[in-house]
């Protein structure tokens, strides 16, 4: 699964992020380095306030490092103009965040198609891709509903469809199964896993170990530093000898 020979899609080098200054400065990240290659899903765990979400927003270009640098597909985010950064965010990065940010005035399909349309895809092409993405999440029948007419779980899945549409190669997820029951939550993780197996790089921030279990690697943050790492893939066979 992990292709160690390929270039990382996400590379963070000694990233610091400090909010405020002087006495009141809060050091959210204090020198984090992380690489995520195509095909790899990395889970980030750690107590509240350890810097998990900050790491994710910097990886996605939604926030900037105070020092150090984050590279997406080799492009240093810190050096980009606002316009170029917006393009990288739209084309290379898919986000699934806790707050879903579906646009209430647009149907599920329009919400999902939006990033592709912004990218310049034709309306028809974008619609087709959106329908595929929705079908993958069992939402094909709800394509023309508005968010307010969908359950929390359905909205969550629509938001995920929007994050996964198109050719984005970096998928960033912050507690993506928040509103879902354990069965549906698992379906979301399976989807994330499949997307990574198909060549994307994924970063999953979660406080649930059960979800982190889907990752190839789990890193543990504390006080803005990576303090532990489960390393690469061990051989599952070593655990349940000859089980299958």
């Amino acid at each position: 699964m992990t292709r160690s020979d390929s270039q990382p899609i996400l590379r963070m080098v000694n990233v610091h992020r400090t909010h405020g200054r002087g006495e009141a400065a809060v050091h959210a990240l204090r020198g984090v380095s992380l690489q995520v290659r195509p095909g790899e899903l990395v889970a980030v765990m750690g107590p509240s306030g350890s810097g998990k979400s900050t790491l994710l927003t910097i990886a996605g270009g939604l926030d900037m490092a105070t020092s150090g640098e984050a590279f997406v597909e080799g492009v240093p985010l810190g050096s980009l103009s606002g316009r170029d950064l917006a393009r990288v965010r739209r084309r290379s990065v898919g986000y699934v965040f806790q707050d879903l940010n579906l646009i209430p005035a647009l149907t599920a399909a329009e919400n999902v198609a939006l990033p592709r349309e912004l990218d310049g895809a034709s309306a028809r092409q974008a619609r087709r891709e959106a329908m595929d993405a929705l079908a993958e999440l069992d939402l094909g029948d709800l394509a023309d509903r508005f968010p307010d007419d969908m359950s929390g779980g359905q909205q969550q899945r629509a938001a995920i469809a929007r994050a996964l549409i198109g050719p984005r190669r970096l998928v960033l997820a912050d507690e993506p199964t928040g509103a879902l029951d354990s069965e549906t939550g698992e379906a979301v993780l399976r989807l994330l896993r499949n997307r990574c197996d198909a060549g994307a790089a994924g970063v999953l921030v979660t406080h649930e170990a059960r979800h982190a279990g889907w990752a190839d690697r789990v890193v543990f943050l504390r006080d803005g530093l990576i303090v532990d790492d489960t390393g690469g893939q061990a051989d599952a066979e070593s655990l349940l000898e000859g089980a299958r």
């Binding site: 170990a209 059960r210 279990g213 530093l225 532990d228 061990a234 070593s238």
Partner: protein, 196 residues
């Protein structure tokens, strides 16, 4: 759970011989509970002694078949209907004992213990999940066994998280008159030490 009830449940379906029982048991439970054949025969002998099974003769190929009796069926029904007892006295959980001792022992870095354990358990959790990904829709029994292992591992990790925050709070309270900075500092020192 006893192997005894497991074998009895299999015999309630149809008469079987020793080796068959072992294979079937392992197939159903995903080999999370491997049996050796000696264990199967000893168990069968005890079940026979207690009147729960009777020998059903030989099939001519050297396989000694066993069939369940009415008493045996009643026992299986009872087993399925009764909740599994929580371990009494309280589980002799090595990890819980280790932490209890570590907290009071001088010079032991408890945070290091919890962190190492969490990483270890997370790796197991990743392995279980990988096995689950490979399972097909037909492997529902096996998938449920894996889910059980996954939820248990998760519970252990949650408990470790809980221990850490509890200890951090206790330490913060102990240092209250001074400042909470030294505490935070101790965490950092540890973090650097364990950094990979």
């Amino acid at each position: 759970m006893s192997v005894r009830h497991g074998l009895l449940a299999l015999l309630a379906e149809q008469p079987r011989y020793g080796y068959q029982l072992r294979t079937e048991f392992e197939a159903r439970t995903g080999a999370t509970w491997p049996l050796n054949i000696g264990q199967v025969y000893t168990t069968l002998a005890r079940l026979e002694r207690d009147g729960l099974v009777i020998p059903r003769g030989n099939d001519g190929e050297g396989h000694a078949y066993y069939a369940i009796t009415d008493i045996g069926r009643a026992e299986v029904a009872r087993w399925f209907s009764k909740p599994v007892a929580r371990t009494v006295p309280p589980p002799r959980d090595e990890l819980a004992i280790k932490l209890a001792l570590a907290i009071t022992a001088p010079g032991v870095d408890v945070l290091r213990i919890t962190q190492a354990q969490r990483t270890h358990t997370l790796r197991a959790l990743q392995d279980y999940t990988r096995l689950k990904v490979r399972a097909t829709d037909r492997d529902i029994a096996w998938t449920l066994v894996l889910d059980s292992l996954i939820f248990q591992a998760e519970a252990e990790i949650r408990w470790l998280d809980h221990c850490e925050s509890r200890l951090a709070r206790a330490e913060a309270a102990a240092h209250k008159p001074a400042s909470s900075q030294p505490n935070r500092h101790a965490f950092t020192q540890h973090a650097r030490g364990a950094g990979s």
